[in-house]
Symmetry: C2
């Protein structure tokens, strides 16, 4: 098999850890695989460099920040290649540029535009283990860029797509994606498999293993991803296309988001385009609106409910002041949370939502908002019921089985 | 003026020091100059990286070492550019590659093959202060290389030659080149000017400010170099062509080399090519022979005296064992030192050597060997007289005036 393995900052955080990574790469190679390893900077290094730059400027040039920050991954990639060579393997370290990663020129959060397979495959064909400095690329003009948060994951997924790797293993310090947050429900189980779509909807559960940006890219390039723990030998969670998920569970996971606030506008003036004006005002204040629910009240007037990050509540209140009475009665509620169940099986199963509402009703948990998509049902409930609701739904859909 | 300034590791060794360097660059720019700054890695960083690599291998791949080591200068160049931008100047950091530095592929001690003026001059013409990561380049194939010891000096001199800079300032932690070692003779004076040739011959005095490799390149490219102390405002020493050294002093400096040992072969068999055999054997043992003096003895046999590094004495003894009696009587003397006076004025002055020998004789210092070149006279004397001889010659040629 042709395998891309990505090792994050904690996984390469010390000499001992890099040695352990070399051992893991070695095992994959010894098993007859062709291996490409993508590495992050040693944990703490990037923050150290950011702190250094902050000594000189509060708003350092992003171009120079990229030159600064890209150095950390170069160090790790060189060290891992040296370690593998010492073990008797032919290994070569490649910078983002040498691996052929071309990005746009948006420094510190560049987007990958192109990765030819050739630079990496030439080394693979020469029998070498290729170690790539993650997180970085170059523009067509040769300027050094970095890919922003989760950039090394993105490098790994993109390279895996470019060279048509059989597998892209993402090593972190957790075992994989769980049916729900194990800190809330100790019966939470690690999922063996999850579809790209479910993973995207379960962002809050999966964020620690793989950010949405990388999941989206994996989906686009049809890269089969396995997230694994670099500190043990557990099997991890495979993230792949829905077609490959044979079972299609009705519900794969339950997610809780407590950083939500609800804004209710009750009895909005019936004026064309007022909804656009409201959300335009919030967008101008850079407020990220999540759920939106609109209903028509008994008097023919419109009621609008939406959720925003709890931290943005005051900003939202100010943004809406300009509308005066046109918005009707305004309610701002910080004591809410969002609860989501996600599963590709929902598409072909009816009654999933009814079951959810019934389970919550049975425990007298009042539902304040509902929003559904093809594979997700989200409800807003009082914050104090959040953890209880997670445990109820986890049991309802038998996620501990 | 178009000025290249090079700042070594100590000069950029901390946030405060980088800030001081930014101030110095700023002053040069404010005075109306176009400035290119070449920087080393922060002091200690390169050693830290070497130590990291040593954790994984005693003989790390030189290619990967170059990727590792080149990261230190990138960090400093980005930080200095950020500091200058914060001060309100347009500044841009360039890696060795971006500055157009093409080298051969001898990793960890690459030689510069080509530097086009265009990449740096384009930025200068755009009104920018250019900050270049020293010590590094790329091969024509795009492999990262480093230039070995003194590599950042070499970058500075080469860039200055490429862009035809008016001046190349090398900042270190000493004031410049002295007439002799101030630790031996406290009347030693800093030289205002010295020719490339003298500087090369005075290597032991000048090594702390600029290695011979960079002096040779400066000579070849006709780059006017000024070595200055980054910790003060002193004027430094200008290293330039002989023609620009108006005064042409008879003696510019006195150098003492105590790491010398003398080998004497007295009464060598009269066999054609035996000298070639002797020095061939020493070369095979990687022994660097310095002075060589051959005389014909009274019996018609040949006497051969030469000096080698004191640390190589035992190796030399072993290398010569194979010759048996053919070398005559062999003497190995560790208790010697080499004393040199250097000056371009010697070419047009007679009697300089006689004056030197007389001054030493007056103090009963016995001369064991003599060797002369156009601008240098070297003698070997007993090690115990080394410092005394330096002071005598320093006074003889009035170097304290």
């Amino acid at each position: 098999m042709l395998i891309v393995q990505k090792y994050g900052g904690t996984s390469v955080g010390s000499v001992e850890r890099i040695r352990a990574v070399a051992e893991r790469v070695k095992r994959a190679a010894d098993a007859g695989n062709q291996v490409v390893a993508v590495v992050s900077a040693m944990s703490g290094e990037t923050n150290k460099l950011i702190a250094l730059a902050a000594e000189f400027s509060k708003t350092p040039s992003t171009r120079e920040m990229d030159m600064l920050l890209s150095s950390g991954e170069r160090v790790t990639s060189a060290l891992l290649a040296i370690a593998l060579t010492e073990m008797g393997y032919e290994a070569i370290a490649l910078t983002g540029r040498q691996a052929g990663i071309v990005t746009d020129s948006v420094h510190t959060k560049a987007r990958i535009e192109e990765i030819p397979a050739e630079p990496v495959m030439a080394q693979i064909k020469a029998g070498k283990i290729v170690v790539i400095a993650g997180f970085q690329g170059v523009t067509r003009e040769g300027e050094v860029t970095t890919l922003g948060r989760g950039g090394s994951d993105l490098t790994a997924v993109a390279i895996a797509g470019a060279i048509k790797a059989d597998l892209c293993e993402i090593y972190t310090d957790v075992d994989g994606v769980y049916t729900t947050d194990p800190r809330i429900e100790d019966k939470a189980k690690k999922l063996d498999k999850i579809s790209y779509e479910e993973m995207l909807e379960l962002a809050s559960l999966g964020a620690k293993v793989l950010q949405n940006r990388s999941v989206e890219l994996a989906k686009k390039l049809s890269v089969k991803v396995v997230t694994r723990n670099s500190f043990n030998e557990n099997k991890g969670t495979t993230i792949t296309s829905e077609e490959e998920c044979m079972e299609k569970p009705i519900v794969s996971g339950v997610a809780l988001d407590k950083n939500q606030a609800r804004v209710s506008l009750i009895g909005i003036a019936d004026r064309p385009g007022i909804a656009a004006e409201i959300f335009g005002a919030l967008a101008n204040a850079a407020i990220n609106v999540d759920m939106i629910v609109q209903t028509v009240g008994q008097d023919g007037k419109t009621n609008l409910d939406f959720t925003i990050p709890a931290t943005e509540l005051e900003t939202a209140r100010k943004s809406l002041e300009g509308f005066g009475g046109a918005l009707g009665r305004q309610e701002f509620d910080n004591e809410v949370c969002k609860l989501s169940i996600v599963g590709v099986g929902m598409k072909s199963h009816s009654g999933v939502a009814a079951e959810m509402f019934a389970a919550l009703a049975k425990e007298n948990i009042n539902i304040l908002m509902i929003s559904t998509s093809e594979i997700k049902i989200s409800v807003v409930v009082a914050k104090k019921y959040g953890e209880l609701a997670v445990r109820i739904l986890h049991a309802t859909y038998e996620l501990d089985k």
